[in-house]
């Protein structure tokens, strides 16, 4: 079909769509000179502001369980973006970038703002110059979202981004507080863990639409809410990091944090204080904590204690526990009849399950049972 009739078809399309009232749009030929309160213009479309918070200082001691204990907090760069959408993908861009670092006995907060699409290259270049020299980045969900978004947009503009080491606080926060909070959005963490209250804050999900409204109207008055929201995000990020450091220094004051996740984190960094948290969780009925604890005990060489734990956990009818019991009796005690008993129970427990992992397990039990049967026949 020729494309010629398209315009007229479009008109008809428009008339049958009730909501299609064509909007007026603003079309800037040259970059507009905007007056954004608190910001100074540093490029055709890029604006900048800084704010210093005296008295905000890093913790005296680091736990060594998030970053190395020798890490100089002065090398950390906290960062966060506001974007035109919440999905990744080539069409989502960042229009506001915020950075925070410890400077001059306080905390220096900087914001870079992009006032329209044509300025994206210069805006990204500013961000690159700020990010690349920083030895250590700290973010919330920045690894999978912010950093990959910047990389994507940089490719489109022909800019090459190289990121430094990166601590993303989302992962540990999620492990520690998922059970207590459900959603581990930064907002939820702020309210429930940091006990912060934001008054009259623009919700994060409304930020993209607000920026689009600004683009259409060129009214800088619409931006204040975005800047305030974003500024608080950076401050909260700094606060969250300090609060995590403190929790790991004094895990006994763990608050709402999940003892299993806390115990596991400590053990994974070689801190044996984790054992008591796993035990605490297990005694509260957390079966997975029990399994982790038994595994830890086994690795440590406390075989008797591990065994008594597995025996207590046998009531859960879990193939993994049966497997450990079968292994223990076969290899540690050489009691093939006892091992066979547990292996058969394990086979029963897993028999109906599907999936690659269960299939592997079934094969494993199968091999073990045949081996044990052979040994017993001899």
């Amino acid at each position: 079909m020729p494309r010629t009739g398209l315009s007229s078809r479009l008109k008809q399309l428009r008339t049958i769509r009730e909501h299609a009232v064509p909007q007026k749009y603003n079309e800037a030929e040259a970059p507009q000179v905007l007056c954004i309160p608190g910001f100074s213009k540093i490029g055709d479309y890029t604006y900048y502001r800084r704010e210093h918070f005296g008295g905000l200082s890093p913790p005296r001691n680091l736990s060594g369980l998030l970053l190395s204990a020798q890490q100089d907090p002065g090398e950390l760069l906290f960062f966060d973006l506001e974007t035109s959408g919440l999905s990744s993908g080539a069409g989502t861009l960042a229009f506001l970038a915020g950075f925070g670092c410890y400077r001059e006995n306080g905390f220096l907060l900087e914001q870079f703002f992009l006032s329209d699409y044509p300025g994206e290259a210069e805006f990204l270049e500013r961000i690159r110059r700020r990010l690349e020299p920083a030895p250590f980045l700290v973010s919330y969900n920045g690894k999978s979202f912010d950093a990959s978004l910047l990389k994507t947009r940089a490719v489109l503009q022909g800019i090459n981004f190289n990121f430094s080491r990166h601590l993303d606080l989302l992962y540990i926060s999620r492990r520690l507080w998922r059970d207590a909070l459900g959603s581990c959005s930064l907002g939820n963490i702020e309210r429930n863990i940091l006990h912060l209250k934001r008054d009259g804050d623009l919700p994060g999900r409304d930020v993209p639409e607000r920026w689009f409204s600004f683009l259409r109207s060129s009214d800088p008055g619409l931006l204040g809410d975005i800047f305030r929201h974003h500024r608080q995000d950076i401050l909260s990020l700094e606060m969250l990091w300090k609060s995590l450091e403190e929790l790991l220094l004094n895990p006994n004051r763990r608050g709402a944090a999940d003892p299993r996740a806390l115990g596991l984190h400590l053990l994974s960094r070689g801190d044996y204080r984790g054992e008591e948290f796993l035990r605490m969780a297990w005694e509260k009925g957390d079966f997975r904590a029990g399994r982790l604890l038994a595994l830890h005990l086994k690795r440590k060489g406390d075989n008797d204690e591990a065994l008594s734990l597995w025996l207590r956990m046998a009531a859960w009818d879990d193939p993994g526990v049966y497997e450990e019991l079968a292994k223990h009796y076969e290899h540690r005690e050489g009691r093939c009849d006892e091992a066979l008993h547990w292996a058969r129970l394990g086979m029963n427990a897993v028999a109906g399950d599907r999936g690659v992992r269960s299939e592997l397990r079934i094969k494993e039990f199968h091999r073990r049972i045949s081996r044990l049967e052979r040994k017993l026949q001899r």
């Binding site: 428009r14 999905s87 990744s88 947009r153």
Partner: protein, 766 residues
């Protein structure tokens, strides 16, 4: 295959009486070429290790054309060495240039998995070290990164390309920068809505490739259809070399068209295809013949397989009960792989399948293919028939007709299978709805500069998107200015994304049992409707259009429901108006408004009307393309129409509309439900009696326009169906039986005769 079976069939008088045609298609010698002199020795070695020492002529030609940088479409019937046709030039290219890469697109996911196993065979054997990665919805995210960065050949499908790859192209920078080959397999399946989307996905793919500085060659493979070259050019929007001479050898094939005996001649009802196909399949399987049965629905597949297995329960063949499996969509991939393996290694004697096995999944050679009913198109029929027959052995393809009009038309015209090229595939990439959706995706992927094209000029469309607030024009460029990820909401398999989910809430359950597009939902699953699903009956408790949910509960009543749909059509714009075939034919944009206000309750079996119910649903609007046939008094047909007695006119026009819709799929590659039909005794716009045939997808997919082109052939077929039918007053095989709602005609009038005579008059005036 044993000649004995064929002799038994030929000796069976009851069987032979129903055979309308028995055609022997002679064996064909293969035509070969030597390996091209420039072929990498590593490939030569791998191939000769697999027993391949020369190429079929079409493989050789494909290689040469691709090497010269030309796009090709290769027509590849079953067992013609399709995979090698495209692998050879691609692998040669990838071996020559260690940077270059290839993309293989398969229309379904199942197919891409199969393809990878076939390719891995070559790769492993040759150890030429070209990494192949599958990238689809099932690819674990841990594997995705390495697939993107290291995969030299990416195997994927259009849906994944559309929603996963293209919108994230900066992650694929290495891939797109060096993309040299794109293979589009089963290109004939990209027709109608799917095809219209596909052209746009290819536009987007080329746009991204250009951005990264690559310009790939396209290799398409098609089954035998009427217009493979044209279709490929529609999809690629570039010149394409057609390679349609097949150099592969083929064994002799027996093609049998079988029309089951009448059960009720007056009503035109014949023995059903389910029973006939299982009965005949048993003959083959008991005789040791590997057989595939194709059935038209999932339910029938299960039924036929079940009947066959029950009948085989005590039948031993060489000491074993032969194994027959059902195969259809909705099975787990592992189950499907197991059946495919069983067919290849011979442990399964028979399989009953939907058209899922019609596509290029490797199941090895079978000896007999039985089609339980015409598969809907001649192209499909040949694909299904082609499932029987290894390159040298004798094979048989048996088609069993149903009582439906198309099946009966085919039985009356066996030459269709032998002389006529199969149906042509149509699409309309500039369908406004589809085009607008893809422009959104394209802007999301890369801004448009003023003057950029997308299959044509797009400035006005971008301006429209700006007025909707999702695009921003500034500094000479158009940018995506919305928080959403547009491809997420756009399905390539339908024109609109808003499907209604059907939820079974029997006894407090909450189980999704199906899906239906919104316009159909209004006509089929309104409140209090009876909904049938896999042989079970449900009553609709609540159709919640706004939230896209329909809640149903199991029920047991003795009636089914049928909505009374009132359709109103408005002609928005006439593009073409011409007098031809004795009528005035108008092609243009139309607005179809349909309203369901009440429904009938009809008793099962007797179809007796046992009551009415009200439906309260907003009217459905659709802007689409229509072919309008106006019986203007000035035309010969218009005059013939005016001579029909008044009381019969409405029925005549309605029945002819349905008939044309039923036979149209013989000429156009579409399903009968893709076409809508409406009639008007006096159209307010035209002022004359008119018949409207329209594309049932918003914006149209090229069907209405193609219908105009084929009007006289469709008319001939319709006339012949009525003339040849043995019934007295109309039956399901022709104009349909008398219905209770029809206006009573005087005893002196016969509905069928009137329609037959009018059609004859129309035809002769063309």
């Amino acid at each position: 295959m044993e000649d004995a079976i064929l002799r038994t069939l030929k000796a069976d008088r009851d069987f032979m009486e129903q055979v309308v045609r028995w055609e022997t298609i002679p064996a064909r010698e293969g035509r070969y070429q030597d390996f091209p002199p420039d072929l990498d020795p590593r490939l030569t070695e791998v191939l000769s290790r697999r027993g391949i020492t020369r190429l079929y002529s079409h493989q050789g030609r494909t290689y040469q054309q691709v090497r010269q940088g030309r796009n090709v479409v290769v027509v590849t019937p079953t067992a013609s060495g399709k995979t090698l046709s495209y692998n050879l030039p691609v692998l040669q290219g990838l071996l020559e240039n260690p940077e270059s890469r290839g993309l293989y697109l398969f229309p379904t996911k199942a197919l891409s998995q199969d393809q990878q196993s076939a390719l891995n065979e070559i790769m492993l054997a040759g150890e030429v070290g070209i990494k192949i990665s599958t990238y689809d919805g099932d690819t674990p995210s841990s594997v995705r990164v390495s697939a993107r960065d290291e995969g030299r050949i990416i195997i994927s499908n259009p849906d994944m390309l559309h929603s996963g790859v293209l919108p994230n192209h900066p992650k694929w920078i290495r891939f797109f920068s060096s993309l040299s080959f794109v293979v589009i397999d089963e290109v004939h399946s990209y027709r109608g809505v799917f095809g219209s989307h596909m052209t746009n996905v290819i536009r987007r793919l080329k746009r991204i490739a250009r951005f990264y500085g690559s310009d790939p060659v396209f290799i398409c493979c098609s089954a035998t259809i009427g217009n493979p070259g044209e279709l490929a050019e529609r999809i690629l929007e570039e010149e394409v070399v057609l390679i349609d001479e097949n150099g592969a050898p083929a064994g002799e094939k027996q093609l049998i068209l079988y029309n089951p005996p009448y059960v009720d001649k007056v009503q035109g009802i014949r023995r059903g295809t389910v029973n006939e196909s299982q009965r005949l399949a048993l003959k083959f399987i008991r005789g040791g013949v590997k057989t595939i049965v194709f059935a038209r629905s999932r339910l029938r597949v299960e039924l036929i397989a079940d009947y066959i297995n029950t009948a085989l329960a005590n039948h031993y063949l060489q000491g074993e009960i032969p194994k027959v499996e059902a195969y259809r969509g909705g099975y787990l991939p592992s189950e499907r792989r197991e059946i495919e393996r069983g067919l290849r290694n011979g442990s399964i004697m028979g399989v009953v399948s939907t058209n899922a096995l019609e596509l290029g999944i490797d199941i090895g050679g079978l000896d007999a293919s039985i089609m339980a009913g015409f598969p809907g198109s001649i192209a499909s029929s040949w694909q299904q028939a082609g499932r029987a027959g290894r390159s040298s052995a004798l094979s048989v393809a048996l088609m069993i007709a149903s009582s439906g009009p198309i099946d009966q038309y085919i039985m009356a015209h066996p030459e269709y299978f032998l002389s006529r090229p199969p149906e042509s595939a149509h699409l309309d990439p500039d369908n406004l709805y589809i085009l607008m959706d893809h422009i959104k995706c394209a802007v999301f992927e890369l801004p448009f500069s003023d003057g950029d094209e997308f299959g044509g000029p797009v400035e006005d469309l971008l301006a429209e998107l700006q007025s909707e607030g999702v695009v921003r024009h500034t500094g000479g460029k158009w940018y995506w200015a919305d928080r959403s990820y547009p491809s997420e909401e756009i399905s390539l398999r339908s024109a609109t994304a808003d499907n209604i989910v059907i939820v079974d809430t029997t006894k407090g359950a909450h189980r999704v049992i199906g899906e239906m597009d919104r316009p159909s939902a209004k006509e089929l699953i309104f409140d209090n409707a009876i909904y049938m699903h896999r042989g079970k009956q449900y009553v609709v408790k609540n159709l919640d259009i706004e939230n896209r949910r329909c809640y149903v509960e199991a029920s047991r009543v003795n009636y089914y429901t049928d909505a009374v749909v009132k359709t109103d059509i408005k002609i928005l714009q006439e593009d073409i108006r011409q007098e031809r075939d004795g009528v005035v034919l108008i092609l243009g944009d139309i607005l179809v408004r349909s309203q369901v206000a009440k429904f009938k309750k009809l008793r099962f079996h007797s179809h007796e009307n046992v009551g009415y119910g009200e439906i309260h649903l907003p009217e459905e609007q659709m802007h689409t393309r229509g072919a309008i046939i106006a019986f203007t008094p000035g035309t010969t047909t218009g005059q013939a129409f005016s001579r029909i007695p008044r009381e019969a006119q409405e029925q005549v026009i309605a029945r002819i509309g349905t008939l044309m819709k039923n036979v149209a799929p013989v000429f156009l590659l579409c399903d009968r439900n893709d076409l809508g039909v409406a009639e008007r005794l006096k159209d307010p716009h035209l002022g004359v009696p008119a018949l409207f045939l329209y594309d049932r997808y918003p914006g149209g997919t090229g069907l209405a326009d193609a219908l105009g082109e084929h009007l006289s052939a469709i008319l001939d077929a319709a006339e012949e169906v009525v003339r040849r039918c043995g019934c007295q007053e109309g039956c399901p095989s022709c104009i349909g039986p008398a219905e209770r709602d029809d206006a009573e005609l005087p005893d002196t009038m016969n509905r069928k005769t009137i329609i037959r005579d009018f059609l004859a008059a129309w035809r002769s005036s063309g």
